[in-house]
Symmetry: C3
Subunit: 473 residues, 3 copies
């Protein structure tokens, strides 16, 4: 053993000998945290109002009064709800120079004007406050970070304190990410209260579209039949109407997911640069393309199931039966229509292939799959294969319509069938894309996106942030 490694060992020993960590609060989170710290080789001291009656604390930990516990350690976790922070003001001198870790969350957003961590910092001005671990649940702490989120986000005003927390987080098997100064604590406290913020807009679009198509089809199919023929076919609501609304919403949302990219291309062509910001609505739209696409896939999936269930429906069996019997009675024969055979088979085939590709897009949107792709692979799948999916699904819808758009009987009450409406957006997207990939336009867009052209001064890197954003993931 050479002298260097001796020195190194000494240094390590000094830096990593079992450190004592203090936890204020003996609730679920405090107990789970303490257990995990003990498992990872730390000594743990609990500070409690009533040290003698603190039950269920992990074996190996000590429990004492807040003041006594604070003296034992340099890092103090405050695992107490904000409403009970008051008692800390009496410990100001004991906590002087300590690192106070605020792990708290609120029950609702916007309950308090300032973040819990900043409030804590104001209460104990002599201590360094770090916000950390609030996105980790007691459950994730207990299960060893094996199957729960492993990222500890932290923020604070002093790098050394943050580094200590990052070391603790890493010893506990988490990945620590420094998110900046204590000012961003409010953002970190909002994270666990979020409920699918990026899904709101796409979900609202999906719900509105579904409702619109549903009532549109209800009027044209069920109510029209009732008014003009007096027949009650309301039972069609359950499957036939649902199977009209779902594919239409799916197709429209899939195209909505590719529309902003095409629009951005034209905007860049118009601006002659990629360094002008897009309007805000376009930015927001681009950010929720993945969600738009996945919702489209969900509706497409329901459409597939609703379609495959058709032949076992009571109504369909009844219709086929009645038709067969009528043929027998009229003594006519069912003429085989070669065009119809081609048309229906192509229609189903386009749909199946389109759905197959769509599922592939969905799978590559899974975090673990998209993380294992490089940029080129990801954009190949999401952009190239995505447009082929859109093309197949649009062709599927056109084959469904076939020549019906020529028949006046399709336009009940002077309204076009719902499927025609659904073709507007996809056609626009496909035409825009067709223009963008013509060689002369494509070369211009490519040059703009590489930062060249009318921006000779920019030394960009061949990767841009806006237009090559993940399309669906």
């Amino acid at each position: 053993m050479n002298s260097d490694s001796v020195a190194m060992t000494d240094l390590f020993e000094k830096m990593h000998k079992p450190e004592t960590v203090c936890i204020f609060g003996t609730g679920d989170f405090g107990r789970s945290l303490g257990l995990r710290l003990l498992q990872s080789g730390y000594s743990v001291v609990y500070g409690s109002r009533d040290p003698k009656n603190s039950l269920l604390l992990p074996k190996g930990s000590k429990v004492m009064t807040h003041a006594a516990a604070a003296c034992e350690a340099h890092v103090v976790f405050v695992a107490v709800q904000r409403e009970h922070y008051g008692f800390l003001s009496s410990l100001v001198s004991d906590l002087e120079g300590k690192v106070l870790v605020d792990v708290s969350n609120n029950l609702k957003r916007g309950l308090y004007p300032e973040s819990n961590a900043e409030y804590l910092s104001r209460l104990v001005p002599g201590a360094t406050v770090v916000k950390a671990f609030n996105t980790i649940s007691a459950w994730a702490l207990q299960s060893g970070g094996l199957d729960a989120n492993r990222q500890v986000l932290l923020c604070g005003d002093r790098s050394d304190a943050k580094q200590q927390l990052m070391d603790i987080a890493q010893s506990l098997g988490f990945t620590a990410v420094d998110r900046g100064s204590l000012r961003v604590a409010a953002d970190l406290e909002d994270l666990p209260l979020q409920l699918f913020p990026l899904w709101r807009l796409p979900l609202n679009i999906a719900i509105c579209l579904t409702a619109f198509i549903f009532f549109y089809a209800l009027t044209r199919d069920v109510i029209y039949e009732r008014v003009t023929n007096g027949k009650d076919i309301a039972f069609r609501i359950m499957i036939s109407l649902a199977n009209k609304a779902f594919p239409i919403v799916s197709l429209v949302m899939l195209s909505l997911c590719y529309l902003p990219g095409a629009m951005a291309g034209f905007l860049q062509l118009y601006n002659g640069t990629k360094y002008r910001r897009f309007p805000d609505w376009l930015d927001r739209w681009m950010l929720c393309r993945k969600q738009l696409g996945l919702l489209a896939l969900a509706f497409g999936f329901l459409h597939v199931l609703y379609t495959l269930v058709i032949p076992i429906r009571y109504y369909v069996r009844y219709r086929i039966n009645v038709y067969t019997i009528s043929l027998v009675k009229d003594n006519t024969t069912y003429e085989f229509d070669n065009t119809a055979a081609w048309r229906y088979d192509s229609y189903y085939s386009m749909g199946i292939l389109g759905f197959g590709l769509f599922v592939l897009l969905g799978i590559t949107s899974l975090p673990s799959v998209s993380n294992s792709l490089n940029w080129r692979e990801f954009s190949f799948v999401q952009s190239k294969l995505g447009y082929i999916t859109l093309l197949l699904c649009t062709a599927h819808t056109f084959l469904y319509g076939w020549d019906r758009f020529l028949k006046p009987s399709s336009y009940r009450w002077w309204t076009p069938p719902a499927y025609m409406l659904s073709l507007v957006v996809p056609c626009v997207v496909l035409i825009l894309k067709l223009i963008l990939i013509t060689p002369c336009v494509d070369s211009k867009v490519t040059r703009i996106r590489q930062g060249w052209e009318r921006q000779g001064k920019t030394l960009a890197n061949g990767r841009d942030t806006k237009t090559n954003q993940p399309l669906m993931a």
Copy 2:
């Protein structure tokens, strides 16, 4: 360049200059480990019984006798099977003060009374033993940790030695997790020998349930028909009976996955606190809810396929054909039954929507997806959407039954049809949940779960470990 960064660079250089690592054993694991260490900038020295005949060692490594190799490095990996540890006793003096890393696994559990690492520690008392890397395969080492498990679990009695291993693991692209003292080495050695421990109970439940339902239906359908009418309809085993067993098992297991949560709620209400431990069986049940749910989904998936295949079955086509011909011959007409149309369409629709939501639950159970959700989002999906799924699937089963429970012909041999049995557990779960979400009960449970109420002294954190556990993930 200011003086500070000079000092820093010096420190870094001292701490991080190419370190030499020794590996005893030139098998697959030793070779893969050496290759990976070399790639990450370490010097590697192999210790071998027969240095001259050691083949296939990575380029750039040295090979010498065990004693000579041990002198070169501070950290010595023992990549040798436990049975061959004997030779180490002759190296006790060479290994004095070294860090010995035990990477071994056994072929079976419980082969030896003490863990390999503790045995190693006893053999070479002067060295510090760290158990590490045993959960990493030679394959994972070679493939650069890009698509295999990246977590290195380690344990040992000295923090400094563990820290050195954690640094090595991190340089190699792994995440290191300290699991405690050398006493837990036996647990780490068991990890690679486990075969789906959490899946055992749910799988056994699924198999027993399937067997029971299958034989129950076999008796009531096939054997009954044989005994009373003398007809052989045994061919129904392949699809009709399977399609009775699968949906029933799916529904029962889905409800079994939500039953313990409801029971826990009532138990907490009864105890008036959440700080009393649940009985062991309830704890174990709660821990395998994810597996119960995923198995239910698998059975539901098979049920969907078995149902969709119905119209292309020979038997079904035969039946429809015979029916049509009989109608023609009797010159009767098929009366359209509006109620039946509503009933069957609703039945399919409920099933499709329920299955769609169920697939969504399954997708959010994928580790990479559930890791990207925060706690609120996860429990929204697994709890709220989960109960809606259960409700839809139960409604689907009720619509299947419709008024058949009133018909005496359903009760062959005085037994109820299988689908009726399957409704018991889901109904119990839904009724319990209904009680729990009535405003007055709900507010009590919420208060208890927040640690308030009859436990004024607890300063909990708004997150609890038991009842808000992941329901399906």
Copy 3:
């Protein structure tokens, strides 16, 4: 607070006080990197040709001339395209002793004889060049590494410089992996330009096989019918032929995914050791088994959809109708064939169970799922369940054929039906496997794979790299 922790704090403060990092280049990547560094507490100085006209730089950063910026920091990111590296030669003295980080990518492979990083190192010989961050997109930097690839690969000739970069990467929330010396920079620069390298061979096999089966079936079905009976049944191309090609390709590729493993077993038996390298083609084949299996699953999925769509096809409804009418007219009855009922139902049942298991194999191939399995679990699923899947799918195909291989009418133009061809490879694989699992052969193979037997000198570890490779993941 004891003196130890004071010392530790001092050390931490010195090592981690806000460090200044310099970025050359104000393009997308430079801006995103700067923003991220600022968020993580670094000071950022941009070097720009035209400091006064640099727009859109993140708030809090400074911008100055290249020379001035270089003086401010020890680490300099060169976020400039390789073509513009020229200006660096005038800064050689300013960059003396600095760490230069090459983050560049090329637009195509093989554009330059040497890697960008080595070129940079030659241009500025006094600086230490580290290649890093080139696999991270500007988008991933902006989105906080939360949903994009979090692994920073780096290489370079000096460990201290690499360690500094690893620390920066970790502060930014990434995982850093050291890939070795600057010589591997060319490999790192190729990574973002790869387009599914492991998928090429399997995709080519799948495309060739599909084309072959398609034209084979086209000849035997459509062209034969045209030539001998003069009937045009070309509409069958869309669904019937597709549904012949897809299942056959799926079955053949699934068996191709298990064939190399069986061959490797026999090769090891023949060699009597596992320490002789397999031939190169076998190695390459084994490496793409996961891709072969997943493509087989994709084709199987399409087969399922094409099959389920059968009963709503125009042609099928026509055929059933015509048959029913003919029965009525001929006044014959449809005789129920008990064997046919058994055969078709078993055929569908095998197919459904096989597909269900196949989907399970696919799910365990998802990176996040396979990462959560240990080696034993993974090989249980991929090997045991994989062979059961192959067995079920082969039985499904045999049941499809039934006794048709005995009928001369099946051999149109002296060619066997396509499904018979598809049975060759799976049968070979299953027979090979059957031989390998007979007790006497199995025990020999097991001993060889554990490194024992005729290789008494090897101290292996019970885990081997070649034959126990992931089968499908």
